[in-house]
């Protein structure tokens, strides 16, 4: 999650059309261009070898019956796809449930906190700083912490519920509770960065427009509805899409808290792929699952890129 914070500036930068700046081309000749290309090579090669090649090679692996334990493999065509398709669809449902809920809640929470923290308030800087803490923690720590809070017998949640006379809840022991638990943990981990992005967007509200509207007699809620809201919707949608893509591939939150259980109620694609490859040693089947996932990811990413470009034009 960490990288996300600075990704928005980054992505904007990236799709920016090459800006023709006067004077540059005249001084930087063909040799400089070659030099520029040469020094880009280490990063490009690293990226091709470690990120792009594995993607392509997993398509190959998905056509073989291959185990993690032995080097030999046999070509099986699309058998792996046939074998895992039912499971893929089931895991996809779980993944979509998790990714959707774990995106909606942090976005609502983050934006709400940003709006509230944008007010004139004593101690708002301290509050903003301390509310960043959840985002800092490694995913495993977040999972351990919430697993402890939700622990059926000794967890503090049930302890507090009993103290105020309410019935205890079983979170990690049943399918619905476990899904709720991982969504809450992920919400707690992600809301700070959405809050920070929303806050920074709120700080660029068009002051002149707001003043003019006030002078023209617009009420506070009208100003929010017609000026502030349209201003923050675009960037928040972009952050939400990114958050959704990350949640779609989330591994640590779920793996540590529930291990995909109880049963397979919280087994998302990432957990399932890990279990297939490193639990059952079925590399071919795991790769087939990965390839289907990759196709979906391409579709979701296109939505993100389109959104990114549209914001760019504004």
């Amino acid at each position: 999650m960490q990288q996300a914070i600075l990704e928005r500036p980054a992505t904007r930068e990236a799709t920016e059309p090459t800006e023709p700046r006067s004077g540059r081309r005249s001084t930087l000749g063909a040799k400089d261009r070659t030099f520029g290309f040469m020094i880009a090579l280490p990063a490009v090669l690293l990226f091709l070898v470690i990120a792009i090649y594995p993607l392509v090679s997993s398509i190959g692996t998905s056509l073989y019956d291959q185990s993690l334990l032995t080097p030999d493999r046999t070509f099986v065509g699309f058998d792996n796809y046939v074998a895992i398709f039912g499971e893929f669809m089931a895991r996809l449902g779980t993944t979509l449930t998790f990714a959707t809920l774990a995106t909606i809640f942090p976005v609502l929470l983050g934006v709400a906190l940003a709006v509230l923290l944008n007010a004139r308030l004593r101690g708002r800087n301290i509050l903003r700083g301390t509310l960043m803490l959840p985002w800092l923690l490694p995913g495993v720590v977040v999972s351990f912490l919430w697993a402890w809070i939700f622990n059926d017998s000794y967890g503090v949640l049930n302890h507090l519920l009993t103290m105020v006379g309410l019935p205890e809840v079983s979170m990690l022991g049943n399918p619905t509770g476990a899904m709720a638990a991982v969504v809450i943990a992920k919400t707690w981990h992600s809301f700070p960065w959405i809050m920070v992005v929303a806050l920074s967007v709120l700080q660029t509200l068009p002051a002149e427009q707001l003043e003019a509207a006030t002078i023209d007699g617009a009420t506070r809620s009208q100003r929010f509805r017609y000026i502030s809201l349209p201003h923050i919707v675009g960037p928040v949608a972009l952050v939400a899409t990114l958050e959704f893509i990350y949640n779609f591939g989330n591994f640590d939150t779920i793996f540590v808290m529930t291990g995909g259980g109880p049963g397979d109620s919280t087994t998302t694609l990432a957990v399932s792929l890990y279990q297939l490859a490193f639990g059952s040693y079925e590399l071919g089947k795991a790769s087939a699952m990965g390839v289907l996932w990759l196709i979906l990811l391409a579709i979701i990413s296109s939505a993100y890129l389109l959104l990114n470009r549209r914001l760019e034009k504004r």
Partner: protein, 285 residues
């Protein structure tokens, strides 16, 4: 933002209503109470958290859980591994990414846009999707279960962030400086290392810290590519504490605090850059 400050300030930053204040308190409690519970459990005795009348604060605080961490050889090894791998990731990311950022920022060549697009897409690929191929590849290269395996994997995933972050900063350097260096007869490599990088040191530090945090926090690769001897803390914690039956929660919370501490220190050091990084990029437009 500079003009109309007095009236503007009141409109942009209204005072909070009573329901607003209550909402803020509730949300802040959701954010902060778990942190309190993490910290206070770490100072509790193991018997205390399993007792029937378990307290909500450490009545009889103890440091045993922290001492226990430093007496556990496997965890100490994981702590050392974490520092080695995260530092390696930070150094390699900034070196490779910094050069890449300079290239994208100050040079125009065919393929430049394709490279930027590749990195833009690259940051959306989840680690789980690459896991199997990466495992097979590192295995046949004889790099499985080494620090190198972790460092180059983390670096690759940190590169897009590092490159775009640094490109944004190097973009701000006036071209005149580079031309002056050229006139002075400085070689292109020397210009990069002696002129460009020294001017963007805060950016390099920020990027290094982000890369460090990335390497420090990852679980999936640490669990699969590192093996028992080279695994970092997230994998170490997972294996040390997830067992059948009841876990030693106070010890686990203390270990979690120790795992989080370096990141908290980095954040405190980084906060200023972190906010300005956001201001220069995210706020633009």
């Amino acid at each position: 933002m500079s003009h109309g400050r007095d009236i503007g300030e009141a409109i942009i930053r209204p005072r909070l209503s009573i329901p607003g204040r209550l909402g803020l308190i509730l949300l802040a409690l959701f954010g902060l109470l778990p942190i309190y519970w993490l910290t206070s459990t770490a100072f509790m005795k193991k018997e205390a958290v399993f007792a029937l009348d378990r307290p909500l604060f450490p009545v009889d605080p103890t440091l045993d859980n922290f001492i226990g961490f430093f007496q556990n050889d496997a965890l100490l090894q994981a702590l050392a591994n974490s520092f080695i791998v995260s530092t390696g990731t930070a150094v390699l990311s900034v070196l490779v990414g910094g050069i890449m950022a300079y290239s994208l920022s100050k040079f125009r060549y065919r393929g430049r846009n394709a490279i930027m697009f590749m990195f833009l897409i690259g940051q959306l690929i989840p680690g789980a999707l690459l896991l199997i191929s990466l495992y097979l590849m590192l295995s046949s290269a004889g790099l499985l279960y080494t620090y190198t395996a972790l460092i180059i994997s983390f670096t690759t995933f940190t590169l897009p962030l590092v490159v775009f972050l640094l490109k944004g900063i190097i973009d701000g350097l006036p071209d005149d400086i580079l031309e002056a260096a050229k006139v002075d007869g400085l070689s292109r490599i020397a210009t990069m290392f002696q002129i460009v990088f020294p001017l963007v040191v805060p950016g390099l530090i920020t990027a290094a810290m982000f890369a460090f945090m990335r390497g420090w926090s990852d679980l999936l690769f640490a669990l699969t590519l590192a093996g028992p001897d080279k695994q970092t803390l997230p994998a170490g914690l997972t294996q040390a504490f997830i067992r059948e039956g009841t876990a030693d929660w106070p010890a686990l919370m203390a270990a979690s605090l120790i795992t989080s501490l370096p990141l908290a220190i980095i954040f405190i050091l980084l906060q200023r850059y972190f906010v300005s990084g956001l201001a220069s990029g995210a706020v633009k437009g």
